[in-house]
């Protein structure tokens, strides 16, 4: 199968604000058609600026962006038609009804009326019974879904979700992810930013980490987990050990819990984890184990270690 061209291609993108602040520094990023891409980064890293530029809300300073092969400046109509944007802040009208505001969005994107599609979107987002309610009467979570409905009203091929689950309760969040998975199944490319790293871990196909205006890593999620994924094996000992014998030095064990446990770090990608030999060497040294526990470093650990790295 031939590799498809990326649906979004960002090259050497820089953004300097009027104040002189460089929000983005030479970003290069390709988004594959049909994937869920999670963009992670601390506050102020440039996530929203990047999304704003791709969607046409902010001007770029240098570089170029194409969406579906269309330059976002020269051919903005074609580029923007493909995109649905759900911004981070809850920006909604107040006095319009849900139905009116979602239909407005469809018209704004130049699509002919299609009440059946709007109905489907509202039903998928559990907003159907609120269709005639004024937006001002809705809760925060519902408003968030109205914004998603607006973005989906014009059948975009690409959906940007900027912190979509901020302030949304757990139940609703699950429903939202079901919608996102359904969209992906329908061929929509999804780019999301989130603070909930578990979500990126659960949802995304690929993960990009942005920090201080630079993309510091883009990786398949599985690859990332494997590449940086360390496992801890904690062995609880029968009785207390004051010092580990020299015969175990090669394992770099860490004695913890006041000599009642040892921690062994190993790499999950290594063919030989060394666990079997460690266990037998421990027994040979007369150290007996009462229990064990393994933990895998989460995406959060990886993320924190990446961002903190100098």
């Amino acid at each position: 199968m031939l590799a498809q061209p990326p649906i979004i291609s960002v090259s050497n993108l820089s953004k300097t604000y009027g104040s002189g602040f460089k929000a983005l520094k030479g970003i290069n990023l390709d988004i594959k058609r049909g994937e869920i891409f999670a963009l992670l980064g601390p506050n102020g890293a440039g996530k929203t600026t990047l999304i704003s530029i791709i969607c046409g809300i902010a001007n770029l300073s240098e570089g170029s962006v194409t969406v579906g092969g269309h330059d976002i400046n020269k051919d903005y109509r074609a580029a923007r038609s493909l995109i649905g944007l759900v911004p981070q802040e809850l920006h909604t009208d107040s006095f319009e009804t849900v139905w009116a505001t979602v239909s407005f969005s469809r018209g704004l994107f130049g699509k002919p009326k299609n009440p059946a599609h709007i109905e489907k979107v509202l039903k998928d987002l559990s907003l159907w019974d609120k269709k005639d309610s004024k937006i001002i009467t809705l809760s925060g979570g519902m408003k968030r879904r109205v914004m998603i409905a607006k973005a989906l009203s014009h059948e975009p091929q690409i959906l940007f979700l900027d912190e979509p689950t901020a302030g949304v309760d757990v139940e609703l969040r699950k429903g939202m992810w079901d919608v996102v998975r359904g969209l992906q199944a329908a061929g929509v490319t999804i780019i999301l930013t989130t603070h909930y790293i578990q979500e990126a871990e659960e949802m995304a196909d690929r993960i990009g980490v942005i920090n201080k205006g630079e993309i510091i890593l883009v990786e398949d999620k599985a690859g990332l987990m494997q590449k940086l994924g360390k496992k801890h094996l904690k062995l609880y000992l029968q009785g207390k050990v004051d010092a580990l014998p020299a015969s175990l030095a090669a394992y770099n064990l860490e004695l913890t819990d006041g000599g009642r446990a040892v921690i062994y770090d190993y790499d999950t990608k290594g063919e030989r984890t060394g666990i079997t030999s460690l266990l037998s060497d421990l027994r040979n040294a007369g150290i007996h184990i009462s229990d064990l526990d393994t933990t895998q470093s989460s995406l959060e650990d990886i993320f924190v270690s990446l961002v903190r790295a100098p």
Binding site: I57, R77, D93, A100, F104, L108
Partner: protein, 253 residues
């Protein structure tokens, strides 16, 4: 052209008008009636005629212009300022629409509203005084041109304003005084010659004069000059709007 987008913006704005019907339509009608009572009855009883037209009749075009100017600015400035204020502007900026389409949608709706208003005020005036329009097409031309021009001007104010205070500032401190001093309630020819010269620096004089000419064939300045000034102001506003969208001034970072 993304006609559906123009239509969507236009209908969205018009829906806002119908929703605020009382404030949008009824209050200008009430204030116009008040002008009639105060200026027409109280002052009109002392000034019987201006250039061959009864005073009450004479002030009608000025009253219509006063409302059309202020309402065009108020509608259009609020129409674009509000999305900026609440943040919903993101959607307009991220939509596949050109700035011309955005302007046609917003300015078209604001102008439509003030034209409707102008017609209502004329109808209200007809209840008080006999009204005869000599050149209905010219009247309509001046009405539409003025509504469009000042809606554009309002649109610019709405983009420029970064607070509600600024939104009110230009209409309150510039437009209303200029309209009152622009011959709404008197003929410029009634002024001493020194003041007359000063008054001719006021662009609103030309708008009102041309509009009044279409009613009664009396004018402070030539009709051609009135039309020229109106078109000139329209052109200035268009250039400003073009510049705003080209640079993203106060719209895009």
């Amino acid at each position: 052209m993304n006609y559906r987008a123009i239509r969507a913006i236009y209908l969205f704005e018009m829906a806002r008008t119908w929703r605020t019907l009382l404030q949008s339509i009824v209050s200008p009608v009430v204030s116009t009636s008040l002008y009639f009572v105060v200026f027409g009855a109280a002052i009109g009883s002392r000034i019987t005629e201006v250039e061959g037209v009864s005073y009450g009749t004479f002030i009608v075009p000025g009253l219509v212009m006063l409302s059309v100017l202020t309402q065009s600015i108020a509608n259009a400035s609020f129409g674009i300022y509000f999305p900026k204020f609440v943040g919903t502007i993101y959607e307009i900026l991220s939509a596949p629409v050109s700035y011309i389409e955005i302007v046609i949608g917003y300015v078209g709706a604001a102008a439509t509203k003030s034209i409707i208003l102008g017609v209502i005020i004329m109808a209200t005036a007809a209840l008080f005084v006999p009204l005869h329009i000599h050149h209905p097409w010219w009247m309509l031309t001046f009405l539409v041109l003025t509504a469009v021009t000042f809606s554009l001007f309002g649109f610019i104010i709405g983009i420029w304003a970064d607070g509600f205070e600024k939104l009110q500032m230009i209409p309150m401190l510039v437009v209303t005084p200029l309209t009152f001093l622009g011959g709404s309630f008197y003929s410029v020819n009634m002024l001493p010659s020194g003041w007359r010269t000063v008054t001719l620096l006021n662009p609103v004089v030309y708008l009102i004069s041309g509009f009044r000419w279409s009613f009664y064939e009396i004018a402070d300045v030539g009709v051609g000059l009135s039309l020229g000034m109106t078109l000139g102001f329209l052109a200035i506003c268009m250039v400003l709007v073009w510049w705003i969208f080209r640079t993203g001034y106060r719209l895009k970072n």
